[in-house]
């Protein structure tokens, strides 16, 4: 029985308790406060700052300045030209491999361990390695020349190719592990059931496995894109940071730490976030069009 205050109202604590809020729930507050102070507040602060241009000229001056300056504006398309193909390729290659590896097979753990290495090494080290390995005197070019595939070493660094390669090396394992982790959780009997109902391998893949893997694929595509869109160290180290690989994060960095225009830097960060969210929205929208219905279900 809940006790009543003289006024006949439930006591606040009891009303909260009825909703499932008690003292234990307060344990989540410190974490929420940390994220609120270190993530939400700076974001809002940055958003506010972006509307207070250093040179004045109205609240939208920074945004107008960015979009009217061709050199700055082109960073968006340069970034998308890197990030979209890289994310799509990473995911497209991961799907069939993860499908093949979804059951427990020998060597799977070793393979996934090898895959986790580039993810944990991070872009700086991969870029640093690519300078050597992809360079004119590196092993890759030596092998190409030795195999007679090319006459002279290819120029693979300080350009688009170098950055793209670094995005594949760190991005492919990430997509692969995400999709594989999700696919391993799918009940293998469901695909077997399809086989006993007369569906051949191709049909099984497209009508059963692929739709069931789709949530994992979607998340992998989103995260792969987000990671590739924010490419920074490799764009500087193995790219051409004043030309073809001057991505949007370089523009933001230069505004903040070379011109010390924090207002403009925040503006570019906000534009980055908006473009990311737009692409994420398109991906999620496409997914829900492609396939409706309950994802989880059945027994166990």
């Amino acid at each position: 029985m809940l006790s009543r205050t003289p006024a006949g109202r439930w006591r606040l604590t009891e009303r909260l308790a009825a909703l499932g809020v008690d003292r234990v729930v307060l344990l989540a507050l410190p974490a929420a406060a940390v994220i609120g102070l270190l993530f939400i507040y700076p974001f809002l602060y940055g958003l506010g700052l972006s509307f207070q241009p250093r040179q004045g000229g109205g609240i939208l001056a920074n945004y107008l300045g960015f979009f009217n300056d061709g050199y700055e504006r082109s960073t968006i398309s340069k970034t998308l030209r890197l990030a979209l193909p890289a994310a799509l390729l990473n995911v497209a290659v991961s799907v069939p491999i993860a499908h093949k590896l979804r059951q427990p097979v020998r060597g799977k753990r070793l393979l996934t361990t090898v895959l986790i290495l580039p993810v944990t090494l991070g872009t700086v080290l991969v870029a640093q390695g690519l300078i050597r390995y992809f360079g004119p005197a590196g092993w890759f070019n030596q092998a190409l020349v030795a195999l007679g595939l090319v006459d002279a070493p290819l120029s693979l660094t300080n350009n688009y190719i170098g950055v793209f390669a670094s995005l594949i090396i760190t991005g492919f394992p990430l997509s692969m592990l995400l999709i594989l982790g999700h696919a391993s959780g799918i009940d293998p009997d469901v695909e077997r059931a399809a086989a006993t109902l007369g569906a051949g391998p191709t049909r099984r893949f497209w009508t059963v496995s692929f739709p069931l893997m789709l949530p994992g694929i979607t998340i992998a595509l989103v995260l792969a894109f987000v990671a590739a869109f924010a490419v920074f160290p490799s764009a500087v180290m193995v790219g051409n940071p004043s030309g073809s690989t001057r991505v949007i994060s370089i523009a933001a960095y230069q505004a903040a730490f070379e011109r010390f225009d924090y207002s403009m830097a925040s503006t570019i960060a906000m534009i980055m976030a908006a473009v990311e969210l737009a692409v994420i929205g398109v991906v999620l929208g496409a997914r829900s069009r492609l396939y409706r219905g309950a994802t989880s279900g059945g027994k166990g």
Binding site: V25, L27, A28, P30, A31, A32, V34, I35, L38, F39, P42, L47, P96, I97, K100, P104, V105, R106, G107, R109, L111, T112, T113, V114, I116, P118, V119, T120, L121, T123, L125, Q128, G129, R132, Y133, F140, Q142, I169, F172, L177, L178, G181, G185, G216, I219, L223, V226, A230, F232, P233, V236, A252, A256, F257, Y262, A265, A269, M272, I280, T295
Partner: protein, 290 residues
Amino acid sequence: MADALAGRPAGVPRPRLTFSPSGWLLAAVMAFFVVNVVALVVSVLFNSFASSWFATPIPSGWTTRWYRFAATTFQLSDVLVVTAQVGAAVVAISLVVGAPAAYVLARRTFPFKRALLLLFLLPMLVPPITYGIPLATALYKFNLAGSLRGVILANLVPALPFVILVLTPFIEQIDENVERAARMCGASTWRVFSRVLAPLCIPGLLAAGLMVLVRVLAMFELTFLTAGPGDQTLVVALYYSVFAAGIRPAQAIDAMAVVYMLTTFVPLLIALRFVNPTQMVVRLKREAAA
């Protein structure tokens, strides 16, 4: 833990992969990728021990002097101390703050739970460089950036949600009846936490802590944006060593890279004893729920 996850009795051999033509193609793609990654790492390793290496398959001579060179020119010992400090602080704080939140998410339903979950997920969906710039700006405003404290605070942003996302399913799979049984035996809330839950959570805490450590070591952007000259972690020092003024031999930079790889590999290898590589990236179920 990994074997139990695979759901197969120990000692039973796994089925071999059977290769169809398309299977061979996929295997070839995979092999090409793995060979290149390994070759990339090995070429960095070779170069760091090379007295000189031009367009030949193998360096012409071997030496360890680049490590000594790197240690003095790049103040390697200072950088390692800073890296250890940042790593330890971020792991400790994110575990202490994150574990209780994970407990609440695992055990309770309450209004706005989905909103709270979304709050913890957002930092994983927005890349560090995007929120790092406003974060660094805000930290400079409060005079926190350009110091060790700033670096630690910035690194908490991705670390804390990660701890929560790893620990929540871990706590979920601990039978709630164990806690109830402890209460029926007359244990207070604090006692239930310290004597029953904490010991059961140790494998999860250990795994989460190690994975956060690996991530902090590799986290370039946030540290780069918030560190002053005296508080760079190894990965940022590595980046600067490529660009800093003055002529540095490539071999010395590669020696730095090898030291960085070793510091990352040690916690990584320990972590892999507790978790599957596929679990190291992110828990998908939760992710998809939001």
